[in-house]
Symmetry: none
Subunit: 195 residues, 4 copies
Amino acid sequence: MTKKLAKERSERLLKAAAKLFREKGFALTTVREIAAAAKILPGSLHYRYPTKEAILVKLMDDALERATSVLRQAVGKANDPAERLKLAVKAHLELLLSGDDSIYILLYGWRSLGEAASGRIERLRTRYEALWDSLLYEAVSAGCLSKNIDLKLIKQMVLGALNWVVEHSSGLTPDELTETFWMLLSGEVIRKSQS
Amino acid sequence: MTKKLAKERSERLLKAAAKLFREKGFALTTVREIAAAAKILPGSLHYRYPTKEAILVKLMDDALERATSVLRQAVGKANDPAERLKLAVKAHLELLLSGDDSIYILLYGWRSLGEAASGRIERLRTRYEALWDSLLYEAVSAGCLSKNIDLKLIKQMVLGALNWVVEHSSGLTPDELTETFWMLLSGEVIRKSQS
Amino acid sequence: MTKKLAKERSERLLKAAAKLFREKGFALTTVREIAAAAKILPGSLHYRYPTKEAILVKLMDDALERATSVLRQAVGKANDPAERLKLAVKAHLELLLSGDDSIYILLYGWRSLGEAASGRIERLRTRYEALWDSLLYEAVSAGCLSKNIDLKLIKQMVLGALNWVVEHSSGLTPDELTETFWMLLSGEVIRKSQS
Amino acid sequence: MTKKLAKERSERLLKAAAKLFREKGFALTTVREIAAAAKILPGSLHYRYPTKEAILVKLMDDALERATSVLRQAVGKANDPAERLKLAVKAHLELLLSGDDSIYILLYGWRSLGEAASGRIERLRTRYEALWDSLLYEAVSAGCLSKNIDLKLIKQMVLGALNWVVEHSSGLTPDELTETFWMLLSGEVIRKSQS
DNA sequence: CATGAATGAGTGTTCATTCAT
DNA sequence: GATGAATGAACACTCATTCAT
């Protein structure tokens, strides 16, 4: 019973922190604000997380865990490499648009981390990106992605486009965004001409 | 003579601030650090810029001005819409990779601005993006960009891919990045298959 | 137990602040001086009062509360309007000479307040003066104060004389001051002659 | 010619300073504000007065000089001691209501002075009050003021009433105030009864 | 487990004053 | 005489963290 309450408190705290970190940035959010939003007292906050940074790390950890799991699950629904890639794009967009603040923080919050935590998150992020790496590699093997192309670069361009678009184009669904993006990748947007 | 010295000081200050803002973020950079890096005293810093935020605004203002000017100049070198678009991509990448810290700050620092300054920068940013809008519109008119496509969305995807890639893929030249990106857009990376 | 200590601290802080505000003026007193005098740390001071002005407001609030209460009590001891007036004079002088710094601050410190706080204190001051207004009005009704006289003006002259005298004539008791003042009011000082 | 301009500048500076000191208090007025109001530059201000305090001292000096001179002139118009006293009251009120900011500063600004300057002003103030002392002494000699009364105390009560009233009762002329005050002193306000 | 008062180093900013020109 | 850029000590205030209860 008590444990349940404790867990609820902890979740409220993380949710509140994520919301504030997203809205105001890590540095401009005070622990008092987090505590107030989570309806606990500043002292109690430090009982669960020793420092403010620890909250951020926890948030990022969880977000990455979730992202990895979601992506893995999404691509499992198809066998065709191109189809799997498209499913990954959609899953990534769905996650970004899910309203989960911690995903957002994951993308932009790493600048606030100390060296130790920064490395830790980087490793987790690499794990997430490794999923994309294998997806792209599969596609090359299946012949639906050109050989002799820098796969890492393609991956970053894809992720960059997706991450950026959710910040700067509002009101569209993941499906709509996926379709447009897929058209762009398929060369259906730019018509071959000369250059 | 005095004026020259004053200008030099002012520039040293801005450069130092840009470097620190990029490295540590706006909130985590102290005015004392900026002053020390610029080899002036904290009080002298406030003689030129009333607040820390004013430095950030000035930095962003200048960066946007420069970006707009560079882009305008770059696309002026060609007449073919597709070629102009490619030149824009290259110019944008060159700017991002030029080592100018304030360009970086422009992309990620806006979260630190107060409401007034934020709106001001947003307006300038819109002016920069308007250049891209017209570039894309031209391309549609010339038939080398598909009609019936959300141009704003394409613009954000393009800019997102470019901005992201310079942060996460190091060691490549703007030309190399431009070539790969252009291949991606031209559909030469993903081979048409089914989906 | 803790609460008791906290209260003691709070009182020490207010006493120290009042003393310093009186001696050096509000603007020339630093929060560090107040903290040092109260034997707490600057940070702890702001835990209780968010700003230096808040301390001043609290001091004035309390002083006015005390003054109102003391005056009300004093005049309750008599029924004759003239006697009540005289008791009020004595009570006012006793308060001023009680060594309570906050009463002094109340008289001269309002210039340091911001607009909001200033209005608040002004309202409280009006409440205190309303007691004098009613005292004077009573005296008129009872015929011991001339009709056709500007009562507000008389009130200000009386309060002005009393407030000023404690600043510039030292060593006398409230009783002595009251007697002299009463003689002055009664026309026993200036002998009727011509003008 | 140059001298004339210099004098004009100096006067503009003093007027501006007096106005600001009255409105915002000495401590809250910055030299930059004074300089701006006097339309000179901060550096030039210090050419004429070495410190901010020096301006305040000069202002007080002049005000006291003027007050002394005005009072002396006013009482010279009559020979009867009571009449002279009444003229002094009127002259004092006229001065206070003349809109000359420095007179106001003289009354309330001494708290801002350092020890040295404070003593200096105190001596000047004593000289002004000595005029009142002699006025009152004359009145005693002439029999129109009761013997066996603390003259210093009476003086402070009179000055206190006058100084206070101009701050707290607006819209009345010096003549009106003088009449009411004189009635108060003459015992025409409080009717003798018992106490 | 939870509290909240207390801490104190650190923050952005102010401003009277100086001084080379 | 006059300037205005530069100074740097001082200011009010913040806030992540601690710890006695």
